[in-house]
Assembly symmetry: C2
Homo-oligomer: 225 residues x 2
Amino acid sequence: MSSRSKIPRPTVKRLSLYLRELESRADLEKTTISSKQLGSALGLTDAQVRKDLTYFGQFGHPGIGYEVTELTNRLRQILRADRKWNTAVVGAGKIGRALMAYQRFPRKGFEIVAVFDTAPDVIGQVIAGHRVRPMEDLPTLVAQRDIKIGILTVPHDAAQKVADSLIDAGVLGILNFAPVRLEVGDAVSVTSVDFSVSLEQLAFQVSLGLTGSLDEHECDQEGGG
Amino acid sequence: MSSRSKIPRPTVKRLSLYLRELESRADLEKTTISSKQLGSALGLTDAQVRKDLTYFGQFGHPGIGYEVTELTNRLRQILRADRKWNTAVVGAGKIGRALMAYQRFPRKGFEIVAVFDTAPDVIGQVIAGHRVRPMEDLPTLVAQRDIKIGILTVPHDAAQKVADSLIDAGVLGILNFAPVRLEVGDAVSVTSVDFSVSLEQLAFQVSLGLTGSLDEHECDQEGGG
DNA sequence: CGTTGTGAAATGATTCACAGCT
DNA sequence: AGCTGTGAATCATTTCACAACG
């Protein structure tokens, strides 16, 4: 369909932010929004917003702006946020539990449909409505429940092994909370969140006063598909 | 001191990753590491690593590489990771509690020295060794305990108000887990972590197979100092 | 030799500025 | 008037390629 010539990586990262902003305005009186308004809500220029959006087609109305519901729907399509994604959490520690209870995931279409851990005393427990399974069940459940995304919340020294298991089982994307770079093949995507690295960069900005600062979202690696 | 001409923002983000990698090799036999080795451990080219490092001086040894301990120390200095940072957690919900127990923070020099919440039944409780205080105590404690960084784990509709309180109290950096862009002045830095946005981008990569994918770490806003 | 440091070239991303639509 | 879409210009970042060093 549309001319998907070449999408800059930063654009992709901003798309989710556009959608988040629009969703938070869904119940506002205004039914349209201009690139300038959307941009200033996110600290971006109007030109940036327009450039980003036109990579995916032309859905603005000159003189008017963008229709909020129309743009919201288009962004959901583009980001595949209009379908359900089944996910598995591996690691029922503190962070894993916080994510299991994170109400925003289901609302955004991300359903946690399986939880795994190795600790015998945790296996079998029901946490936030999810029964914790042993790692042996992973291959079967990933296949059975059509799990495409794994959420990794295990200690760093277990991360690579768990990632390998997830990939062997057929998972195509991993949200990694362990402070290591995961080695994965071309067919698998990884997005890493490292709280310490985030704090470290914040501390650097604070101490140096890096004006303008950094943008972007999370750390990703290889991609593919 | 050194010629800090102009540091690209992506470089700053990679510095923490270099340090993380080096720290994980501290007890290995090899006492030196080449830009090629360091780079390939992080999915970067050797030239990239060298360029990044030389923004801060020349501490490599031609024909040899970099001395691991020397480079580690230099990076700690550069990132101000060689000192202690006092932080406060606002919001003693699931995510806040997970961070309070996060062992990596103290090891990296980030000490949580105060915890706040609004819920009367939570105030006074001791969680992971931290007594939860009412918001009224925030200004005093931030000053008393020399807190420079705030960690925000409150619902999105409370985030801006809490950020304002933190800034009024003198905090200079905010690690924001609420899914909103915080409006802050030039003197304050913000780094945002939005789990839903991360998952959304991962899902996009998975579905589109965006080869090469995205880099970077977390989402930041204005900066300052 | 292998490896650093670094200008120069290439690539990538943002901003400008304006034609054209409402 | 207000706004989008977009080529061209600017700015930023990465990669190349090689001299100099151990």
